[in-house]
């Protein structure tokens, strides 16, 4: 596919640009998205395939990403590093990331601040870290090791609390502040996750934002899931709600110049239901909301 513009060409009034999930194997969707986004977010767990009994990056998807040239910047957003597992992170994820960064220029990479496995057993879901000194010390060592290994900016994202919060040494914002202060890592603020926590657990978003040091926040995520049995689920299957967009705008106003990109996230399984046209319309709407 021929690139028609480069990300460097685009300037916005707010300094913020738009990004979107792209998991490969859908060139028609990519063609609709490219004029509307400056960053493509890639998840290695989705672009990996089994080959001879081993997980490897898909040759065809890697080919697509290499062909993007200067049309957009690529950011890697992991799911399975499991940086918070007591026994250690996933070496498989880092092996794939090693392979990826050798082939594609990456602006930065990121992970979720949580864990997906315990003693090698996959939970099937991601759980948030307890905000204790023990957890913070462990996370700081791992973040430092990752930054040393890749020499790329590394960001961590606030995730939804799927079970009630445990007694903590830090508030949510203070924990993120301390982690970023001690390691120099950046933060992704998933605005929809904040809304889920507010809806499901009575989380005080205003208090959180008042305490958070915005200098660390480089990226925002917007998405939308569904409500089930009275709880808001983080399934990334819908167009964003206006409340999510307004909350993200509120965050951007408090962080002039810090936040680089707002990424609209949707899972590959949601694409047939959403449709390419709705995704393109959503990206156009977000561009208008965040870049003008």
């Amino acid at each position: 596919m021929a690139a028609t513009a480069t990300y460097a060409d685009r300037q916005t009034k707010t300094g913020v640009v738009i990004g979107a999930t792209y998991e490969g194997r859908d060139p028609a969707l990519l063609e609709r998205m490219l004029p509307l986004v400056d960053y493509i977010e890639v998840t290695l767990e989705t672009i990996s395939e089994m080959e001879d009994g081993e997980l490897r990056l898909s040759d065809s998807v890697m080919g697509e990403l290499k062909n993007l040239g200067n049309a957009v910047q690529t950011i890697v957003h992991g799911v399975s590093l499991s940086i918070g597992s007591h026994e250690g992170w996933s070496p498989m994820y880092l092996r794939l990331l090693d392979d990826f960064v050798e082939q594609v220029d990456v602006a930065w990479h990121s992970e979720h601040l949580g864990y997906t496995k315990v003693d090698g057993q996959h939970l099937g879901i991601m759980l948030a870290m307890p905000r204790t000194e023990e957890a913070l010390d462990m996370l700081c060592k791992r973040v430092n090791a990752i930054q040393e290994r890749y020499r790329l900016p590394f960001l961590l994202e606030n995730i939804v609390h799927v079970v009630p919060d445990c007694p903590a040494d830090y508030s949510d914002a203070a924990f993120l502040n301390a982690l970023a202060d001690r390691t120099g890592c950046g933060l992704i603020l998933d605005v929809y996750n904040l809304e889920c926590d507010a809806h499901n657990h009575g989380f005080d978003i205003s208090a959180f934002l008042n305490e958070l040091q915005f200098a660390h926040v480089r990226e925002l995520h917007v998405a939308c899931g569904v409500e089930h049995n009275g709880l808001l689920l983080d399934v990334h299957s819908q167009r964003t709600r206006s409340s999510t967009v307004e909350l993200a705008q509120r965050v951007i106003r408090r962080s002039p110049g810090g936040i680089k990109v707002v990424v609209y996230e949707f899972m590959p399984e949601a694409i047939p239901g959403l449709g390419h046209t709705a995704i393109a319309e959503e990206l156009a709407r977000l561009r208008e909301a965040f870049t003008d």
Binding site: E45, H86, H122, L127, V163, P164, V235, E269
Partner: protein, 174 residues
């Protein structure tokens, strides 16, 4: 409670392998009794549904048709260590059904697993036995339409290989 203990107990609650004790930490008791834990388990189930519906459509549709989908996916979640890598989930699911007591489920899952391997470039050839004529069954599952009439019983096999124009052929065994 230290990090390792907390994570192990939460894993046990999610896998339903940990029974709460009276002297358990108050936090673990709160989680165990919360509606959030039950809803999170539903969430895990829905994630598997989303992925398997897309990645192994034939077997998924057959199980749905037989009203066995919920029971089968729930058992898969409980018994298998499911990786977050999407591409590993369908093979693991299909493998778990390949010796199913229902011969049709076993045949369809073996067939679909072989087809996945061939589409990923596996140069091998796979033979799957059937106790009914497979063509009409596979056609109805692939197109998600009801079977017009009961498939004829008999000994058949499908041979799955990248050497065939449509990656497989149906043969009568005799």
């Amino acid at each position: 409670m230290d990090l390792a203990s907390q994570q192990r107990k939460l894993l046990g609650l999610f896998k339903s392998t940990y029974q709460i004790h009276a002297d358990d930490d108050e936090y673990i008791q709160t989680v165990a009794q919360s509606k959030h834990l039950q809803e999170a388990k539903t969430n895990i189930f829905l994630w598997r549904v989303y992925v398997l519906e897309r990645t192994c459509a034939l077997t998924f549709r057959l199980l749905k048709r037989l009203n066995l989908l919920e029971k089968t996916i729930s058992a898969f979640i409980m018994e298998c260590n499911i990786s977050p890598f999407r591409e590993t989930q369908a093979p693991a699911f299909l493998e778990s059904l390949s010796n199913h007591d229902d011969r049709l489920i076993a045949s369809v899952s073996q067939f679909e697993l072989a087809l996945l391997k061939i589409k990923q470039g596996d140069p091998g050839s796979y033979v799957v036995p059937w106790t009914v004529e497979p063509s009409a069954v596979l056609y109805s599952l692939a197109n998600d339409i009801p079977l017009k009439e009961k498939a004829p019983e008999g000994a058949y096999k499908t041979v799955i290989s990248g050497d065939f124009p449509f990656d497989f052929v149906v043969r009568n065994v005799d």
